[in-house]
């Protein structure tokens, strides 16, 4: 288990700057909480699970390996290749994490695994190598979608380098509806979303980075957040890390979302 807490978080912050040549991936949200067009407030729609039930529910999820991250590991094992992505030196963590959430929702629906290409969502930052706002990303993705990897070579972010038809294929994979977390209590909403089986799309202002959250793990007596990063499987524990202490709580300033519905497509 690769733990990131108040004592060592500097390591990953430094690594972010090094990997992306100083391009910060996750920028502060563009709109105030509650104004993202594609997202409805989570706590107003879903009753929060009382804290007294958290540990019992974590055990139930653990027993069935029902966590999103466990599902992702199962897909990796089945295909003989990790689903963990590599954003290279692109400041595109914001769309890589979004694509991971979309793949997770596709799995939950029962669709065959299709690797999605986050680079195809680079239009949200005008195809430049730069960071983005997660709320803008999900609004953009709801209009344009995300193409399959077979249309977009790894780490190229110029549409002229994509295969013909990529934009049409992208419309097959559209995240239509999201929840926005953090209106009432960011951590309680995060825990509830994960216990109900949703992947989450959190940003962390201390890290300038966005990842997919897909599991809760108990470290000592503390409930922590396990994330899937987009720094290839050699990072952390086969691409996964555990955020602890103050570092585990998604930032209101960046936002945290959970995808609800994605278009049905076998393509």
């Amino acid at each position: 288990m690769y733990l990131i807490d108040d004592n060592n978080y500097g390591e990953v912050v430094e690594a972010t700057a090094y990997r992306t040549d100083g391009v910060c991936g996750c920028l502060p949200r563009a709109k105030p909480v509650g104004e993202c067009l594609q997202a409805v407030p989570f706590a107003e729609q879903v009753p929060l699970i009382p804290q007294g039930e958290w540990l019992d529910r974590i055990k139930a999820m653990e027993a069935s390996h029902a966590w999103v991250n466990d599902q992702r590991r199962a897909v990796s094992a089945e295909r003989g290749k990790s689903v963990v992505k590599n954003q290279g030196n692109l400041g595109y963590c914001h769309v890589f994490a979004l694509a991971n959430c979309m793949e997770a929702v596709r799995y939950q629906a029962g669709l065959e695994y299709i690797e999605l290409a986050p680079e195809s969502m680079g239009g949200v930052v005008n195809w430049r190598n730069q960071g983005g706002n997660m709320d803008t990303d999900i609004e953009w993705a709801a209009k344009h979608g995300c193409a399959a990897r077979s249309f977009c070579p790894y780490l190229l972010h110029t549409p002229s380098q994509f295969k013909t038809g990529w934009d049409k294929n992208a419309l097959e994979h559209v995240p239509i509806e999201w929840y926005e977390l953090g209106r009432q209590n960011m951590w309680a909403e995060t825990v509830t979303a994960l216990l109900l089986g949703y992947p989450i799309y959190p940003g962390f202002d201390w890290w300038g980075h966005s990842v997919m959250g897909g599991k809760l793990v108990v470290v000592g007596s503390e409930i922590c957040l396990e994330i899937e990063n987009s720094w290839e499987p050699s990072w952390g524990d086969q691409g996964y890390g555990v955020l602890k202490g103050t570092k585990k709580i998604p930032s209101i300033g960046c936002g945290c979302f959970a995808p609800r519905v994605i278009t049905w497509s076998q393509a």
Binding site: M61, G110, L196
Partner: protein, 139 residues
């Protein structure tokens, strides 16, 4: 007596077909397969995603279990979990899933819809546990 037994046997076979598959004409060309029970080939859980909190922790766990999904695949059962408002890229309910979604909406969500090997559709309340679900799915 022999004739009577034959009549009863044929009658039971035909009745069985009618009970599971009302449009018998569609199966006229598969007379031999009538002798065998249908098995689920597709299992669709139709739900209102926003109502996830109404499910028990056991139901959430089995719905998300990778092991159950892998076993379904091995058994030749396609296992799907969809929202009642699911749409395809054209913005319409996917045609292949429309009958299941309609059936579930009428019966009340969440609902487990089983599509048999000969096209018959049956619906059930969402099983409470993984072992109940496995029995229902025949895996």
């Amino acid at each position: 007596m022999k004739k009577l037994l034959w009549a009863i046997a044929v009658g039971l076979m035909l009745a069985g077909c009618y009970i599971q598959f009302p449009p018998v004409q569609e199966y006229a060309g598969q007379a031999v397969s009538w002798l065998y029970a249908s098995k689920p080939v597709t299992a669709v859980v139709v739900r209102e995603t926003a109502d996830a909190a109404k499910l028990t922790k056991e139901q959430i766990a089995w719905l998300s279990s990778p092991k159950l999904r892998a076993d379904c695949k091995t058994a030749g059962v396609q296992f799907l979990v969809v929202d009642k408002d699911l749409v395809d890229a054209a913005g319409k309910t996917p045609p292949a899933l429309a009958p299941a979604i309609e059936r579930a909406k009428k019966a009340g969500l969440p609902r487990l819809i089983l599509v048999g090997s000969r096209g018959g559709i049956t619906d059930y309340a969402l099983p409470a546990t993984e072992s109940d679900a496995r029995k229902r799915l025949g895996i």
